[in-house]
Subunit: 362 residues, 2 copies
């Protein structure tokens, strides 16, 4: 009888962090693509753009003026998704009315930050130097410390700090000046909450950490390991949804950037540079993605803190080339996430690419 | 003290079908948009395109020839995400190994169909006539009956039929010939499974149907009701994620298209035409979306069948104009879905638009 072949037969893989499945249809990558293919151009943005809201010395949309910053610069978002100044939401409906049962609402307060990685309008992460990138990591660490301090002393109601970057127009970024964001909320966002719940369940069941065990397993199997240094490992997770999705995990148990030493900071800078260089080299383009950090909530029990494990998700949309992306649409929205190549196939592609030499320098 | 104002203060709303939150930041719609705005063109596709894989009489990518079909035409997808012919997947790992715990896999078999709505290359749903649209509804009904028959008599292992349409390039559709798809699987997809679970819980707790109660509530409140006829109602759900997302629900308890009378079929055709006409009129464009049907599994217990309630989700990406869409990216992927206007604001816009006169005819 025929053997089950992961590169030819459809199957679903369980994401243990979210406890949901991804449908993998590897033979689908064989179908012809009729969509457009564009010529690849070298990136050519100026170092300074007088019309950019994020360049040093420029006037922002609201009229505020950026200082002449010389390294990573953080400020409060002019159009934040959440604010601190708003009245409390008080639920008036009783659970025994239809409204009380079906229309459930919570007020959400918080603060949103923009983090310019560098004064330089055209310096993306793969092009930045290690000292410059270490500054970015330090900014993430310092912000976490500061908002946690406010949370603990009661001056702000924060529970979670979500740090992320939307890179590229394909990922809804409207300004090419390299920057990330951080949204600080008085609730734990759904996705984080779900991961914490599943990591907690795993810990109670197996008396070890889900991501700690996963690092061990991947380092033993090697097949999906894209990068590794003393402190971190990057894999295409077994349950990846996006074609070239990766998961960056600390090797030791670090619950948040609070646990980072200087060595961790420069190791994170190093591996971020290598990973994003590989990404750019994959399709010879400034590779779009959304990425972000998952770590311990700002205020939580010792148990929840202990179940947390520092990691970063990279969700890039491209599938076949600089211009052909994966659409997570009909079946994915109504049924289940679906992918067209295996994680192992994606990892093999990423492994063979250089993480040291950027295509723009070749 | 200040009152909590839904159009000005951030809050999250619970989606009771999936038991997850959506963050609503209504003041964010006030931020200026710097992205591109394009001139709106009238649609001008030919009735027949000799290069289209889906037009009658043409040769498909695989070499098969389409018959000269004269109304709705269904055939097996040439590049299906799932197939019937593949060996069974047998799990070899034990739960007490890291691999057994962390790398969980299931084989998935099934069949994928393409449904050409009409022979006409340029006839989208809002432009089709009621008899033509009724043919589409009948095709959905007939397909459900046929695959259910195969499932029950044991000739195929089907559990769920996911019918959907990806419309427009923005939704990953690569062929403008109006068509939908149907993927028939031997598993219940995640999203459907989650809805069935939550509808089941609701039923056990309240001895009534979640969607039945919701229809009652919305018809009483009226604020979010976009369309209504004898058999169906369309609302912008309280917990909508996409800017102009809608939910179409049967008024009576219909578990699947099996329960449809001729009156239900023509009422569905009518309300689909009106809804998609409103959508096209919103930004004077052929409005992109992914939409699909959720109904009872093909094989399930009486209890699960009874918890099911026929409904359709419409997920359109556009936010501000024919060319500016909502990006569900960084925070949405890593944290929680987020929207920039309230459901009530979106409903008000849709309610005032004509569902009878298409902008192309004005
Ligand atoms: O099947 P199609 O039309 O080739 O492909 C489209 O719909 C599928 C089902 O939602 C998605 O998986 C694809 O990413 C999308 O491009
Ligand atoms: O905050 P920005 O950069 O204006 O907006 C971008 O990121 C946000 C957070 O992921 C999203 O909600 C927006 O849809 C996206 O365009």
């Amino acid at each position: 009888t025929q053997q089950f072949d992961f590169t030819n037969h459809s199957h679903r893989r369980l994401n243990p962090l979210t406890n949901t499945y991804v449908l993998c249809s590897p033979h689908r990558s064989k179908r012809p693509w009729q969509g457009a293919r564009e010529e690849v151009k070298k990136m050519a943005l100026p170092e300074y753009d007088p019309k950019c809201y994020l360049c040093p010395g420029n006037i922002r949309a609201t009229g505020d003026v950026n200082p002449k910053f010389e390294s990573t610069y953080i400020f409060t978002n002019d159009y934040p998704a959440v604010k601190l100044e708003q009245p409390e939401y008080i639920e008036e409906e009783q659970e025994d009315t239809l409204k009380g049962r079906l229309l459930k609402t919570e007020g959400v307060r918080g603060k949103c930050f923009v983090i310019c990685f560098s004064p330089n309008h055209n310096l993306t992460i793969p092009i930045m130097s290690i000292p410059e990138l270490t500054k970015v990591v330090s900014t993430w660490q310092k912000l976490y410390q500061e908002v946690q301090h406010e949370a603990i002393n009661g001056s702000a109601p924060y529970k979670y700090l979500q740090i992320f970057e939307n890179k590229g127009f394909a990922m809804g970024c409207s300004n090419p000046h390299p920057h990330g964001q951080a949204w600080c909320l008085d609730v734990i966002p759904t996705e984080v909450d779900r991961e914490l719940e599943n990591m907690g369940k795993y810990h109670r069941q197996h008396h070890s950490h889900l991501l700690g065990d996963y690092v061990k397993l991947e380092l033993a199997e090697k097949e999906r390991v894209v990068l590794e240094n003393d402190s971190f490992v990057v894999v295409v997770p077994y349950w990846a949804l996006w074609p070239f999705e990766t998961l960056l995990i600390s090797k030791e148990h670090l619950t948040s950037t609070n646990d980072f030493t200087d060595k961790h900071k420069s190791d994170l800078a190093l591996i971020l540079k290598k990973l994003t260089t590989k990404y750019d080299n994959l399709f010879n383009t400034s590779f779009p993605y959304s990425m972000g950090i998952h770590q311990a909530p700002l205020q939580c029990s010792e148990e929840v803190k202990n179940n947390s494990w520092f990691h970063m998700h990279f969700y890039p949309p491209l599938l076949r080339s600089a211009t052909v992306k994966k659409f997570c649409v009909g079946f994915e929205m109504l049924g289940e996430p679906q992918r067209d190549l295996t994680s192992e196939q994606a990892a093999a592609r990423l492994i063979e690419l250089s993480g040291d030499k950027h295509f723009n320098d070749l």
